[in-house]
């Protein structure tokens, strides 16, 4: 199919999906709205992580650090009287600055060391939030001003806000994937030293990816905090989040545009099903799912079930004599 047509079709499909999402929001009950918002948040986090972990290939377990940072930055801003929108902007800014500083320090490490470093950052952030009472409220947690209006209004508002962020993250991912920036990231993933030798400014690219990812994640945290109305350190800096997000992306296919989205949706649906039905064993079942994903779908759903592979499977065998 000619390129322009596929582009139009893609754009059209996106509009259809976006409309469906919005319509669903207005028709759903409060619990469905909340579930939908949780799903949107998963999509956001996965897309954001994908930039650093998927395209660039740096195994980051730092998602929770940025998420919590955004939640607290937004929350603290709001308790000081800043209106919600501005508070979210403030959170994004804080996320960016933190990404630059952290990136400069951590991005020198690679592989295992980088992974461990990001985990350490999450732990340190949580402890600081726990102990810096004057700023964060400490272990007692932080109460945010509640959005005026009925629960339904609040539900729809945050649902739309989170999905808007998801759309933004998707468009950002598309932009990254198609640009020279994305190409540079993929070069870094393949072979960082070689990339540097062919002229890719590796350090700048790495930090830029980290910042892009960090801003989106921090925004998600800020929206989450405003939605829930109350955050505490062990909740906002939850290491489980840092682990679930990469798993979701891997499930879908890391390093693609739609992979994170698919992975997030499939994982969240599975998680809800499991959690509702298996009250005592849900984390064990989640563990089994994770193991199964790694064994049977290591490259991600999108790649395992792609059209080209299907064609390969169903192709007639090569004629004899062409060994």
């Amino acid at each position: 199919m000619p390129r322009r047509t596929t582009e139009l079709l893609r754009g059209g499909a996106l509009i259809v999906v976006a409309t469906a999402v919005v319509l669903f929001g207005f028709g759903a009950n409060n619990y469905q709205l909340q579930a939908g918002t949780t799903l949107a948040m998963a999509v956001v986090l996965c897309l954001a992580w994908n930039i650093v972990g998927g395209y660039m290939g740096y195994p980051s377990f730092g998602t929770a650090a940025f998420f919590g940072l955004g939640a607290y930055a937004g929350g603290i801003a709001q308790t000081y009287g800043l209106p919600m929108g501005l508070a979210w902007a403030a959170a994004a800014l804080v996320g960016a600055v933190f990404a630059i500083v952290l990136g400069a320090i951590l991005l020198r490490l690679r592989g295992h060391y980088f992974a461990i470093g990001t985990i350490a950052v999450v732990e340190v952030m949580r402890e600081i939030a726990n102990n810096w009472d004057a700023l964060t409220g400490g272990a007692i947690g932080l109460s945010l001003p509640i959005l005026a209006g009925s629960p339904r209004f609040a539900g729809i508002f945050f649902y739309l806000a989170m999905w808007a962020l998801a759309l933004l993250a998707l468009l950002l991912t598309v932009a990254v994937a198609r640009s020279k920036f994305g190409f540079g990231l993929r070069c870094i993933r393949q072979n960082e030293d070689a990339a540097s030798m062919v002229g890719v400014d590796v350090f700048k690219f790495k930090v830029a990816a980290f910042v892009t990812s960090g801003i989106v994640i921090a925004l998600a945290g800020a929206i989450y905090a405003s939605m829930v109305g109350f955050i505490e350190p062990k909740d906002a800096f939850n290491i489980l989040l840092s682990i679930e997000v990469p798993v979701m992306v891997m499930l879908g296919a890391a390093g693609t545009v739609l992979g994170p989205v698919i992975g997030a949706i499939v994982y969240v649906v599975l998680r809800e099903l499991v959690w509702v039905n298996f009250i005592n064993f849900h984390s064990a079942i989640l563990g089994v799912i994770i193991v199964a994903v790694i064994y049977f779908i290591p490259k991600g759903l999108l790649r395992e079930f792609s059209l080209t592979r299907w064609r390969k499977w169903t192709a007639p065998p090569a004629p004899a004599g062409q060994g």
Binding site: G53, P59, I105, L106, R108, L109, G111, H112, Y113, A115, I116, G117, I119, A120, V121, E123, V124, E127, I128, N130, N131, I243, P246, V247, M250, N280, F281, H282, S283, A284, L286, G287, V288, I289, I290, V291, I294, Y295, P298
Partner: protein, 285 residues
């Protein structure tokens, strides 16, 4: 009083060293982050406690039983499950083992419940030069040295040890030389689990055990190994003692609530400034 602080630091440091030896071995040889480590320790502790309480066996023998059980468990887990991803990127192996950990941990909470359990054995403490020293922790100090020494001996002076080092240096070359690589990996993992169980036995003397401790133990092992040096024999020992001293003095200077933060911050610093850790080189040489 400073002397007591130093003693305290060294004593907790030895417990830490015991805790981390198994973790360090697995990282060093298989190059995977064993997220199951904390769970292994807790399981070893539970086996020790149950044998001692239900069967009336002495704690020492119970701990040995724990070691044996965990060796088999570790061997099987590696052989059947983890072997597939040994050569995979860190992210895959980490996540896989994390999934396994979720499973085992859930089973433990269902099976053992979260109520704390202890070995009701008190060895008391001795007074030396005006310092109060807990006997159990002194025992842990001895155990840490024994484990490190045993590991050293194993790697240098035994056939299996040389095979392990060979596999670590070059997997394919080792296979070409006739070493059965998957078996070596499985045995190494089993030894790591065994050491975790030994630590579990020692820790059971000191702490009330619940499945929730596995996360805490894992976190500490991380910090210890990074501080001391991942993948070298004395790494856990050096790291453990260093962390013990750092937390001790962190408590005095910053207050007890910051003591764990101090550990993580220092871990970050070491990672960034000297990734090979305080004790030096990477790899089992």
């Amino acid at each position: 009083m400073i002397a007591q602080y130093v003693a305290n630091g060294l004593l907790i440091g030895s417990l830490y060293a015991c805790l981390a030896v198994g973790f360090s071995l697995i990282y060093g040889v298989l190059n995977i982050i064993n997220v199951l480590h904390g769970t292994f320790v807790v399981l070893g502790a539970y086996v020790t406690i149950y044998c001692a309480q239900l069967l009336g066996i002495s704690p020492l023998i119970s701990a040995l039983v724990g070691c044996a059980v965990m060796f088999v468990f570790g061997y099987l887990v590696q052989r059947l499950l983890i072997n597939e991803v040994v050569a995979a990127p860190v992210f895959i192996s980490f996540t896989l083992i994390f999934g396994l950990d979720l499973l085992v941990n859930n089973a433990m909470i269902q099976g053992f419940t979260a109520t704390p359990r202890s070995l009701l054995v008190d060895y008391g403490s001795i007074s030396l030069f005006g310092l109060s020293l807990s006997v159990a922790r002194l025992g842990a100090m001895a155990l840490a040295l024994v484990l490190t020494g045993a590991l050293y001996w194993l790697l240098r002076h035994s056939q299996m040890g040389r095979a392990i080092i060979a596999v670590r240096m070059d997997r394919h070359a080792a296979a070409l030389l006739g070493i059965r690589v998957p078996r070596v990996y499985a045995i190494t993992f089993g030894i790591g689990a065994l050491m975790a169980a030994a630590a579990g036995g020692a820790l059971a003397l000191v702490y009330p055990i619940t499945p929730l401790l596995s996360g805490v133990f894992l976190g500490k092992s991380f910090v210890i190994c990074v501080l001391g040096g991942l993948g070298i024999v004395p790494g856990a020992l050096v790291g453990g003692l260093a962390l013990g001293m750092l937390e001790s003095f962190g408590t005095i200077v910053f207050g007890s609530q910051w003591s764990t933060t101090v550990g993580f911050v220092l871990m970050l610093l070491v990672l960034v400034l000297r990734p090979t850790g305080l004790a030096g080189r990477k790899g089992y040489e």
